[in-house]
């Protein structure tokens, strides 16, 4: 028995004016299965939709094709119309006769329009209903890390009513560069007290994540804390595990910031310089100080901020002569332009050079040589202390975390931040997020925005304790599945696992929660066992078959 297909054409209020709709209606009415064809001028507006609902009911239409604008625009609206009319929203297909037909070609496009409708009719004939269901999810959130980003994420999550566990591998919270405090003017101590006093936040220090399984709404995590094993479940995981630095010097690249002296001369990191500034019992105050930045890492605004702040403070505290070697001073961050101006007004000297300066030791001092772009001359400076350029690198343990979670890292080793579709805080797995330094982002303004972004996303997902999913929209048929493990290995979202059915056979099972409906598994399954409703092979081939001679 042929299913009854209703075709609703729309001329978009006259915006589609190079199609002979009468001819289209005549031809479409002859397609097998089509029992109703009608032309409107504004199908998507309230009146148009209501008329559609009554048509579907009166004419006992079982499947619907709309030929109008792009499905990117209105598909969900029409699916709702079907549901209101008592049909499953999935028994619907749209023919794009506007953006990809009428507007894209000169002259009369009636023939193409007819074909596009035929493609949609062929597809809709084969579609199967997909139900929706609410699945319960765990409302607790795991935040990995103990620094600025982690602490503030936990505090904000608590404010929106979500219980959080802060998991920090060191013995105390607040580990991170101390210079953050003086640069940004916040108080780590009071943040930590706020966290410790918050009843929605559990703090686990000297603790590490050993294993993690599951999917969004249902992650099972094994934690090791001081030799003891703890098992927990969470709905979402947020990584705020920070970064580490290494001195970038031509002579010996990638020295750890912890190394103090090289060949007996004083080369320090920004952090060490901060400590010098704070050290009230410093033996000798350096009279001449050199800074360098923006040669190896052109992206970090944090180094610029650190340099400007430290230079200013040194000038005010010790009155030293300060020279800053740079390639470009990038001040596109909040407050930076003002800070730069202040530094110059104070007498800090800025020297621009194209190539990184050469660093050598001479008579117990650091000798810096660079060619100044504006003077066109070589500058040679002998200073007491050089605050060297730092590279920002992924934290120790980033590789381990990446493999525990089966999450990729980007080309620099930071957690995924180069894919614009996942930007700014998402990962390829639903329910796992990254913020701050571990994402390679060290600009406070952006980090704060990212924290709010993550909190909003997590709240949206978990706050109601339920997530609406399409049931078995992508499904591996247990009868056909030969458990070759190909789909499990290729799923970019980690949404497939091997399960036992009927007590013995192992087959692939796709999680409705974690699946992101890409169809990569459906394409690669060698046994053709995976069906992706709406994009099954027969549904795609039916569209191809509809295309005829022009």
């Amino acid at each position: 028995m042929e299913t009854k297909i209703g075709v609703f054409l729309c001329n978009c209020g006259g915006a589609i004016n190079n199609i002979d709709f009468d001819a289209v209606v005549k031809k479409v009415a002859k397609f097998p299965g089509v029992t109703y064809v009608n032309l409107s001028s504004n199908l998507c507006l309230k009146e148009g939709r209501e008329k559609m609902i009554s048509c579907i009911r009166e004419e006992n239409i079982e499947r619907v094709v709309v030929a109008a604008c792009s499905p990117e625009f209105q598909e969900h609206i029409f699916r709702e119309v079907l549901e209101k009319a008592g049909l499953n929203g999935h028994l619907f297909s749209m023919a794009n006769i506007r953006e990809q037909c009428s507007w894209a070609h000169d002259g009369d496009v009636t023939m193409k329009a007819v074909e596009l409708v035929k493609m949609a009719v062929n597809k809709v004939r084969l579609l199967q209903p997909v139900e929706k269901k609410e699945l319960p999810v765990n409302r607790e959130v795991l935040v990995l890390g103990g620094g600025f980003s982690a602490i503030n994420t936990a505090l904000q999550l608590s404010r929106v009513g979500l219980r959080t566990t802060l998991l920090e591998k060191e013995a105390a919270l607040g580990t991170g560069p101390e210079e953050l405090e003086s640069f940004y003017g916040f108080d780590t101590g009071s943040m930590i007290s706020a966290v410790e006093g918050d009843e929605n936040i559990e703090v686990l220090t000297s603790a590490q994540m050993m294993a993690v399984e599951g999917k969004i709404g249902d992650f099972s995590v094994r934690i090791k804390k001081e030799g003891e094993e703890i098992s927990r479940k969470y709905g979402a995981i947020v990584l705020a595990t920070g970064y580490q630095t290494a001195l970038a010097l031509d002579s010996e690249p990638k020295l750890r910031a912890k190394d103090v002296a090289i060949s007996g001369i004083n080369i320090v990191s920004q952090e060490q310089f901060c400590r010098m500034l704070r050290n009230s019992s410093l033996e000798t105050e350096p009279k001449t100080i050199g800074f360098m930045f923006d040669f190896s890492d052109e992206n970090s605004r944090f180094t610029t901020l650190a340099t400007l702040n430290n230079a200013l403070e040194a000038k005010k505290k010790w009155g030293s002569e300060i020279y800053v070697f740079y390639k470009s001073v990038k001040v596109d961050s909040e407050g930076m332009e003002k800070l730069y101006q202040e530094a110059r007004d104070c007498g800090v000297v800025f020297l621009k050079s194209e190539a990184p300066p050469r660093i050598t030791a001479e008579n117990g001092r650091v000798k810096i040589e660079a060619k100044d772009v504006f003077l066109g001359e070589d500058i040679i400076l002998a200073c007491d202390v050089l605050v060297a350029e730092e590279l920002y690198l992924p934290a120790e343990g980033a590789e381990n975390l990446s493999s525990l979670l089966s999450i990729r890292r980007d080309s620099r080793g930071f957690f995924q931040d180069e894919n614009v579709h996942l930007y700014p805080v998402g990962s390829e797995k639903k329910g796992i997020f990254f913020i701050g330094g571990c994402r390679g982002d060290l600009d406070l303004g952006r980090v704060l925005a990212d924290i709010s972004s993550v909190v909003m996303k997590v709240h949206e997902l978990l706050s109601s304790g339920k997530i609406l999913v399409a049931v078995e929209r992508v499904k591996a048929d247990p009868q056909k599945c030969v458990a070759c493990l190909t789909c499990i290995r290729v799923c970019p979202h980690g949404a497939i696992q091997l399960v036992r059915v009927d007590g013995s056979k192992e087959v692939a099972e796709i999680s409705d929660l974690a699946c992101d409906a890409c169809g990569i598994c459906a394409a690669i399954c060698p046994a053709k066992a995976i069906e992706f409703q709406g994009y099954r092979d027969e549904e795609i081939l039916a569209q191809i078959e509809a295309i005829q001679e022009l």
Partner: protein, 219 residues
């Protein structure tokens, strides 16, 4: 499982050259998993043959069918209606499948479209490697689970040949790991290196008579 590889297209075209109506038959087990002869490969091959004939100004009608295991008579039996309609069968199953079809449908030419190569496993996506030589006299217990008959280029039983290259690579094939280096390391991990001190006399390669037969004891 059995690993097979599709024959070169020129060879397949020659095999079916005299025929105008052919059944392209796949198998749902080993050759499906190694991407050589499953339902998908059947569809692709049929499509290619149609395109090829049409480009030559000629025609071919193809029927497509894939059974769970082409080496089971009962399953192959189900194809009898389709086989009756065609002039020849192009089978993408391993040698066992091809012969089962040939035996059941004696009046039709059954042509192999794949070459059955070895018993193996996937090393990574899309790459299958030979693991077992089906020698009929398994001694993997003594080599830490690594078979020197298949994985040693010379099939040696008592340690490396002495020509092992730097990095533990094979003298004959520098891309390959020396099997005996792998065996040594494995036995070392298990604390069973004493096994390497034992001498194993030359193998009885007649352990498996051709064609092999195995009669299960229980009913």
């Amino acid at each position: 499982m059995i690993i097979a590889e599709r024959k070169p297209m020129e060879e397949i075209k020659q095999l079916i050259a005299p025929y105008k109506k052919v059944l392209v038959a796949g198998c749902g087990t080993c050759v499906t998993v190694c991407w050589a002869g499953g339902e998908k490969e059947v569809a692709i091959l049929a499509s290619q043959l149609k395109l090829a004939r049409s480009a030559e100004g000629d025609k071919i009608v193809t029927l497509e069918a894939t059974v769970d295991r082409q080496c089971e008579k009962e399953m192959v039996e189900e194809l009898k209606d389709k086989v009756a309609e065609v002039e020849a069968v192009l089978s993408l199953a391993c040698g066992a499948g091809v012969q089962t079809m040939a035996e059941l449908f004696e009046d039709k030419p059954v042509l192999p479209a794949v070459n059955t190569t070895f018993i193996g496993m996937p090393e990574k996506e899309g790459l299958w490697v030979e693991m077992c030589g089906a020698c009929g006299d398994c001694f993997l217990d003594r080599t830490g689970g690594i078979c020197p008959i298949v994985r040693c280029a010379k099939g040696l039983l008592n340690g490396p040949c002495g020509g092992t290259r730097k990095g533990g690579k094979c003298e004959i094939d520098p891309e390959k790991d020396c099997a005996w280096v792998l065996i040594y390391r494995r036995l070392e991990k298990q604390g069973r290196l004493d096994l390497m001190r034992e001498y194993y006399s030359p193998r009885n390669f007649r352990a498996v008579k051709r064609p092999g037969k195995v009669q299960a004891a229980k009913a």
